[in-house]
C-alpha cells in the first residue's frame, strides 16, 4: 500500500512559497492500477514524483507498506527506489547503450555483477515486452512505442512492486498508446504489480485504471472507482474530462435537446445490465415510448458499460423509471 498522510508540497520561488499540492491524504492499494488525471500544471507530475521522493514533500508522511520513505536516509532511500520502477513520457533511455544494456542498467546499479544472471533476466524482459530481436540496437533506431517498451522492461528489471508511469503514452500515437496500455494491464495482472499513472487523457484512465483521482490546481477534487467517477462525475473538471471521452454531448451540450418532446433521460448500464434487454421489457410493460438521442457501449477496463440518452413519452414514465432503477440501471434526468 502506498499511503500519503497529510502531504503537501510548495515550491520556493524568489523567497515566496508557491503551493503545488494542497494537503491531501490518499491510499493506493497493492495490485491496483491507480490513475491520476489532471491538466498540465495541476500538480500530477509532482504527485507521482512524491512516491519515489524525486520530489520531497514540504510536509506530511509518505509510506510504502510499513516503510516511511520520508524518514529514510539517502542510502536507505536509494535501496527503496530500486523496488519502484518508473517510466517516462520521453522514455529517458541511455542513448549510448544498447537496448539490452539499457535494460540491464538498473541491475548493474544495484550491484549485480554476474553476466549470465543479467543476460537471463534481460532475455526474459525482452520477451515480455516483445523486443527480443532488437536487443542489440540503440534507442535511436527504435520507434516511440518500442522505446517505451524498453523503458517498461528497464523499470521491471529489479522486480519492483510498484510501477510509476509519468505520462507514459502522451508522446505516442493512438494505436501505439493502446498497445502500451495493454502491456501495462498485462503486467499488472501477471506480476500483481501496483501501477500508478498520471495522464491528461480520460481514455487512458478508462482503459486500464481501477481507481482514479482527479487533480485540479493542486487539489484532489474527486477520487474513486473509475466506473463511478466516469459515469457520475461530481466536479466540473471531472465532467470536462469525461466529456472528452464521451464526445457526443460535449460539443453541443444538452441544449441540443431543447426542441425534443418528452423527458430527456440518461441511462447508465454497468456490467451484466449492459447485455440484458431491460429497456425493451420495461417499455413494453409500462407502455412508454422512447427515442434514442445519443448512446454508446464500451468498456471501463474489463467492465462493460453503456450510456443512452433518451427522450421518453407516455403516461407510465415514473413507473418505467422505477422499474429501470430496480433492474440496476442508473437513471438521471437531464435538464435542458
Amino acid at each position: 500500500m502506498i499511503r500519503f498522510v497529510d502531504v503537501h508540497k510548495s515550491y520556493r520561488v524568489d523567497g515566496k512559497d508557491i503551493p503545488a499540492l494542497e494537503p491531501f491524504s490518499l491510499d493506493i492499494a497493492d495490485g491496483e492500477v491507480f490513475g491520476i488525471i489532471g491538466h498540465s500544471g495541476a500538480g500530477k507530475s509532482t504527485l507521482i514524483r512524491l512516491i519515489n521522493l524525486l520530489e520531497r514533500p514540504s510536509g506530511g508522511r509518505i509510506l510504502i507498506g510499513d516503510v516511511e520513505l520520508t524518514a529514510l536516509g539517502d542510502a536507505a532511500l536509494r535501496a527503496q527506489r530500486r523496488h519502484i520502477g518508473m517510466i517516462f513520457q520521453h522514455f529517458n533511455l541511455l542513448s549510448s547503450q544498447t537496448v539490452a544494456d539499457n535494460i540491464a542498467f538498473p541491475m548493474r546499479l544495484a550491484g549485480e555483477r554476474d553476466p549470465t544472471a543479467i543476460r537471463r533476466r534481460v532475455d526474459e524482459l525482452l520477451e515480455r515486452v516483445g523486443l527480443t530481436v532488437h536487443a542489440d540496437k540503440f534507442p535511436s533506431q527504435l520507434s516511440g512505442g518500442q522505446k517505451q517498451r524498453v523503458g517498461i522492461a528497464r523499470a521491471l528489471a529489479n522486480h519492483p512492486s510498484i510501477l510509476l508511469c509519468d505520462e507514459a503514452t502522451s508522446a505516442l500515437d493512438p494505436q501505439t498508446t493502446a498497445s502500451v496500455l495493454e502491456l501495462l494491464g498485462q503486467i499488472n495482472r501477471d506480476l500483481k504489480l501496483t501501477i500508478v499513472l498520471i495522464t491528461h487523457e480520460m481514455d487512458v484512465v478508462r482503459r486500464v485504471c481501477d481507481r482514479v483521482a482527479v487533480l485540479d490546481a493542486g487539489r484532489i477534487v474527486e477520487h474513486g472507482e473509475v466506473a463511478d467517477v466516469f459515469l457520475h462525475p461530481q466536479h466540473e473538471t471531472t465532467r470536462r474530462f469525461v466529456d472528452e471521452a464521451l464526445p457526443e454531448e460535449a460539443a453541443g451540450g444538452t441544449s441540443l435537446y431543447a426542441q425534443v418532446p418528452g423527458r430527456i433521460l440518461r441511462l447508465s448500464f454497468r456490467g451484466e445490465a449492459t447485455w440484458s434487454p431491460t429497456l425493451g421489457r420495461v417499455t413494453r410493460e409500462t407502455g412508454v415510448d422512447f427515442n434514442i438521442l445519443a448512446g454508446r457501449i464500451d468498456r471501463i477496463k474489463d467492465l462493460p458499460y453503456g450510456q443512452l440518452t433518451l427522450a421518453m413519452q407516455g403516461a407510465g414514465i415514473d413507473q418505467a423509471l422505477s422499474s429501470l432503477r430496480a433492474a440496476g440501471i442508473d437513471v438521471e434526468e437531464i435538464a435542458r
Partner: protein, 230 residues
Amino acid sequence: MTLAFATPLHELFPNIDDWGELGHACIDTLLMLGGSLALTVLIGLPLGVLLYLTGRGQIREMPKLYGLLSLIVNILRSIPFIILMIVLMPLTHILVGTKLGIRGAIPPLVIGAAPFFARLVETALREVERGVIEASQAMGATTWQIVRHVLLPEARPGIIAGVTVTAIALVAYTAMGGAIGAGGLGDLAYRYGYLSYKSDYMVVTVFLLIVLVQLLQMIGDRVVAHFSQR
C-alpha cells in the same frame, strides 16, 4: 645530408642546414603536446564534472563552491598564455625543477589549458538530457554512478570534441612557449625564422604545425563520429 631527396629540399630551403634539429623540434613539440594534453584531461575532466554537478539546478547544487571554481577558471582563462608562463615560472621551478625545456613548459601548459577544457566538459555535460539523470535517480543510482555510467558515456562525443579543441589550443600554446625557452617547433620558428631572418625556417615550421593541427582535427572528428553512430 646524404639522403636522395635532400638535394631538392636543400635547394628549396637553403638556410636550413640541420634537418635533424628540425626533427628534434618536432618530437619536442609532440612530447609537450602529449604530456600536457594527458595532464590537462586528467585535471580538467574532474574539474568539469565538479563544475557541472555543483552548478545551479544540478544534482549537487552548491552555489558557493561553484562560484569559487568558476572564478578561478575564469581568471586562469583570461590571462594570455605567454604572461601565464612567465608568472608561473617560480611555481614551475618548484614543480619540475626547471623553468626551461619540455618539462618546464608542461606546468604552464596544463594550468592554462585545464580550465579551458573543464568549461568544455561542463558544457558537454549540460547537453545530457535531464530526464535521463532523473531516470537514474529513480533507479536508486548514487551521484558517482550517475557520473560514471550516465553523464560521461552520454556526453562522450562532446567531451572528445572538447579534447580535440584543447589539443589544438595546446599546439598554439607550445609554439608560443618556444619564445621563452620551451623548445620545439615554436622555438625554431622564433629563433631562426624571426630573430635570424631565416624565413624558410618559418615556412617549414608553420607548415608542420598546420599538418599537426589538421591531423589532430581529423583524428578527433573520426573518434567523435565513431561514438555518435547511435
